[in-house]
């Protein structure tokens, strides 16, 4: 019986104590008509060895292609110590630190995490995580609607250049509360939020403006101007940032005259493997003024009876287990283990390590773009400066190109044609510090082969090529 320690003698002794004839008698309050039979569609149990064989086969099946996709999940080096420490049983198998005295390890670590995130973003306070970057944005939107007392509307300005999945998630989560997300177009030349269109909204009532840095195209937004514009128009400024980029880019707390009010983003680049999209974690930081509107767990430093420093869950009056229907959010469990890994990751890298990673990603992507742009019909779509991703135009249908590349075991980027048909045959590429010169050359030579194959079948060419 996997994971059940009872011997037959234990069972009999325990039943005798209870005064029940057999285990089935313990279910006598369940109406017999409701009882289910065998779960026939569930296979019989397997040994660890057999499950190991199955899982190894499945993991191998997906190969390990050379990956140039970013689009919200980035392949960074994770120091060996990170997951060896994070999977120590004391971290891995504990729960939310409700009993503070028995959870000082997790609590102090979370306080250190909050300290690191406020340092990276230059904001006053941080919570201890949300599910992922997209759901963190949704919570930031809800927070802004609650917090902006100057705004009567439940409307938010959200750029089209923001990650399409983030926009979808925010919509799924906030729409039932009557909140409207108004899309801001981007400038087709620079790839930045279109400031002329933005100006048309001046004076209108919105609770917040969302400002991604960088945006989904990798392009850097004019964050100072956008933040000031939001504040001038009585909106809160919600920053959506990549934490690795924050090591080198101007932090949201310093945007414009007053800084952003809320900053959120995807924590995955801080020590979480790609792993099919999760678990990752969303981070959320804000100004002191907004702390009581913040969702999720927050840890405070305090003293014990003897005056010794200790850490505890605080401001719990915001949370569902105390406030129930009046809580700031329904969130209970967060992404504790991922935050444990991120805290260790940031400690190991430090500011300089993160800066080196960020700069290496920027350099590698620049190199990739340069090398690929030497191929006929390939080139950057936007002029704006980028961090570690760029949109490239291809001389053939993006879907076909990526499929052919994948057949050569190269994942050539994210196909933008479904979400942004206005960009034509466009692909979003990324080369992190993990993709060296040889990998870039590999991509180039495979793409060249794919393009040449098309040249030999001209009937399939697009007219503009």
């Amino acid at each position: 019986m996997p994971f059940i320690p009872h011997t037959e003698a234990d069972i009999q002794a325990m039943l005798a104590t209870i005064g029940a004839p057999d285990i089935d008698a313990l279910f006598d309050e369940i109406p017999p008509a409701l009882r289910c039979g065998e779960l026939e569609k569930i296979p019989q149990g397997m040994s660890e060895m057999e499950v190991g064989r199955l899982m190894n086969a499945r993991a191998r099946q997906d190969g390990q292609p050379l990956c140039f996709i970013g689009a919200g999940a980035y392949d960074h080096h994770i120091p060996a110590a990170v997951w060896q420490l994070a999977t120590r049983g004391e971290f891995y198998t504990s729960y939310t630190p409700y009993q503070a005295e028995a959870s000082q390890g997790t609590l102090q670590l979370l306080y250190e995490f909050q300290s690191m995130m406020t340092a990276l973003t230059v904001m006053d306070v941080s919570n201890t995580s949300l599910y992922d970057g997209a759901s963190a944005l949704a919570e930031a939107v809800l927070m802004a609607v609650r917090a902006n007392r100057k705004s009567k509307s439940k409307r938010i300005l959200m750029p089209r250049s923001l990650h399409p999945a983030y926009r979808r998630v925010a919509h799924s989560i906030v729409r039932n509360q009557g909140i409207e997300l108004v899309e801001l177009p981007f400038d087709m030349e620079s790839g930045q939020t279109d400031s002329l269109v933005l100006e048309q909204y001046a004076g209108e009532d919105f609770a917040a403006l969302v400002i991604p840095q960088c945006n989904f195209f990798g392009v850097l937004e004019s964050v100072d101007e956008l933040t000031d514009w939001a504040h001038t128009n009585k909106m809160l400024a919600i920053a959506v940032a990549n934490p690795v980029a924050l090591a080198v880019l101007q932090p949201p707390g310093e945007w414009g005259e007053q800084g952003a009010d809320i900053c959120c983003g995807e924590g995955q680049p801080l020590g979480a493997p790609l792993a099919s999209g999760g678990p990752y974690f969303g981070f959320l930081t804000c100004t002191q003024k907004l702390v009581r509107q913040m969702p999720g767990r927050i840890i405070g430093r305090t003293l014990d009876l003897d005056g010794k420093t200790g850490y505890t869950l605080t401001l719990q009056a915001r949370e569902q287990h105390i406030r129930r229907s009046k809580a700031t959010s329904n969130i209970c469990t967060n992404q504790g283990l991922m935050v444990t890994a991120a805290t260790i990751h940031m400690s190991l890298l430090g500011a300089e390590g993160l800066e080196r990673v960020a700069a290496a990603c920027h350099a590698n992507t620049s190199k990739l773009v340069k090398v690929l742009s030497a191929l006929p019909g390939v080139g950057p779509v936007f002029k704006g400066a980028v961090f570690h991703e760029r949109v490239l135009r291809l001389p053939l249908e993006t879907k076909d190109a990526l499929r052919s590349l994948a057949a050569h075991n190269v994942l050539g980027g994210f196909d933008l044609s479904a979400d942004y048909p206005e960009l034509g045959n466009a692909v979003l590429v990324c080369a992190t510090e993990m993709r060296g010169d040889e990998d870039i050359e590999q991509y180039r030579s495979k793409l060249e082969r794919v393009i040449n194959a098309r040249i030999q079948t001209p009937c399939k060419l697009k007219p503009d090529w």
Binding site: L39, Q61, Y95, L249, L337, G350, A385, L402
Partner: protein, 487 residues
């Protein structure tokens, strides 16, 4: 001491980052950070030692008995972690094409199918990232269902007064008002009160069964009939699924929508407060509204179902496919257990709970619902001890820590005064349960002979009781802001 306080200017773990510092060519200065972030500057060994020592200040399943009611703190198999961490699974990009995803997608499809069978639901989506997000998804589907029928005047969700706080909070996030239903003296819902509030405004009811008071809701079929008759739907909170796995299924009880907490029932683990996974299952009429993405089988291949082919879906709840790594762990656990293993989860968690309840009442504790059979958990009330000895539930909980036992859930559910909600789980042996009884007996004797000792506990932990009022009043939430006084 904080990691920041171990920092020395210029020290680094040099092996962890690229050896060269590249420049940020092409990025105008206005976009760049002017001052490096204030992060710790420490060596690799300092980091390893610091976090190893911090870990040792935690109670965990691996180190301590952890009978935290409603949280199902059972053994987390090591195989689930090591197999979910195989290089092929860790390296897969969430947007990798289906051609390079069949292995992973096969696991997800199988898991969907197994969860359908285990819960008796018509279809399952794995995407919600935690129980509370599953609740949100479930209530959003209830709303989508009513809205699609033009039945959009229904504005009320019912929940028992003993419900988890997430239930009302999730309903509010979906735009509903919440009305509480009282619990009867026997622990079951007050069905007469329910009848009084059901009506054309009822969108649905959220129930946990076995309920949060640790007993099986015996009139569930009748309740389902009443709610359906009023045009409402039934939501099953899967917090206590461990108690009934393989014995009775939410689908057979008449529930229309459920969420499961895989970090509880499928032991994935809890990770110091997440990540969890909260898949949702639905009856046939709610199937169109399931959150995306989902995995389907198309001939020999697995394919993603997204917003494109599921237009009525309530949508996407995370950027990619939810907590995939947690789902893999659950799948591995389910394959290790298999059909018979699942029956045994309910059997032995229930055996352990009933044994512990009997032994604790024999040594002088009071059950909150003495006439009822325990499910996988049960409630003691220390009302009598608090009155007679001046030692309350929190004192007991803190004193347990001194004996190396994590405290049970305290003061929940709110309707039972001075309560301890105790869930031993199926993976504890009889000896461990007996030791817990011994410890509780000892604390009871201390409460009678030396109450101060209990009231001032814990004595042997890294810290004594913390000043929570000070924590909330003089907010100190980050080292940096305090040390440097920066904004």
């Amino acid at each position: 001491m904080l990691i920041f306080e171990k920092s020395s200017t210029g020290r680094r773990a040099t092996a962890q980052a690229p050896l060269q510092q590249a420049d940020m060519e092409g990025i105008p200065a206005q976009f760049l950070r002017r001052q490096s972030a204030s992060m710790p500057e420490v060596s690799e060994m300092q980091v390893v030692r610091h976090y190893t020592q911090l870990s040792q200040k935690n109670f965990s399943i691996d180190t301590h008995f952890y009978p935290l009611g409603s949280c199902t703190m059972k053994y987390n198999p090591r195989a689930s972690n090591s197999l979910a961490s195989l290089p092929g699974f860790l390296a897969r990009h969430p947007l990798a094409p289906e051609t390079h995803s069949q292995g992973f997608m096969g696991c997800m499809y199988d898991l969907q199918e197994m969860l359908k069978e285990a819960t008796g639901m018509f279809a399952v989506s794995l995407s919600p990232a935690a129980g509370a997000q599953g609740e949100f998804a479930g209530v959003a589907m209830i709303r989508a269902y009513h809205d699609a029928r033009g039945d959009d005047a229904r504005n009320e969700i019912l929940a028992p007064d003993a419900a988890h706080g997430t239930n009302p909070a999730s309903a509010v996030m979906c735009g509903y008002k919440v009305r509480e239903i009282p619990t009867g003296a026997d622990g079951d819902i007050d069905v007469e009160a329910l009848k009084g509030v059901l009506g054309s405004q009822t969108a649905g009811i959220m129930l946990t069964n076995p309920s949060t008071v640790g007993v099986f809701e015996r009139r569930i079929k009748e309740i389902a009939g009443l709610v359906h008759e009023a045009g409402g739907l039934l939501y099953y909170d899967g917090a206590n699924l461990n108690a009934i796995l393989g014995k009775v299924r939410p689908g057979d009880m008449g529930f229309d929508v459920i969420h499961m907490n895989l970090h509880k029932t499928f032991s994935t683990p809890h990770g110091g407060g997440g990540p969890g996974a909260g898949p949702v299952g639905v009856s046939e009429r709610l199937e169109p509204y399931l959150p995306v993405p989902m995995v389907a089988q198309d001939g020999e291949d697995y394919v993603w179902l997204t917003e494109d082919n599921r237009p009525e879906s309530i949508g996407r709840l995370s950027a990619f496919a939810g907590n995939a790594g947690v789902l893999l762990r659950a799948y591995i656990y389910a394959r290790l257990l298999g059909r018979d293993g699942m029956h045994r989860v309910a059997e032995f968690s229930t055996l352990n709970a009933n044994y512990l309840l009997k032994r604790l009442t024999d040594v002088g504790f009071d059950a909150a619902f003495p006439q009822r059979r325990a499910s996988h958990e049960f409630i003691l009330t220390l009302k009598r001890q608090a009155r007679e000895l001046g030692v309350n539930t929190m004192d007991f909980a803190k004193r347990l820590l001194d004996f190396g036992v994590h405290a049970p859930t305290t003061y929940f559910p709110l309707l039972v005064p001075e309560c301890l909600l105790i869930e031993p789980t199926e993976t504890e042996a009889q000896d461990e349960l007996d030791r817990f009884v011994d410890v509780m007996t000892t604390i009871l004797q201390e409460a009678q002979n030396d109450p101060e000792k209990v009231k001032s506990a814990p004595h042997d932990l890294p810290v004594r009781r913390l000043d929570d009022v000070r924590a909330a009043r003089d907010l100190d939430l980050a080292w940096r802001s305090r040390a440097k006084g920066e904004r």
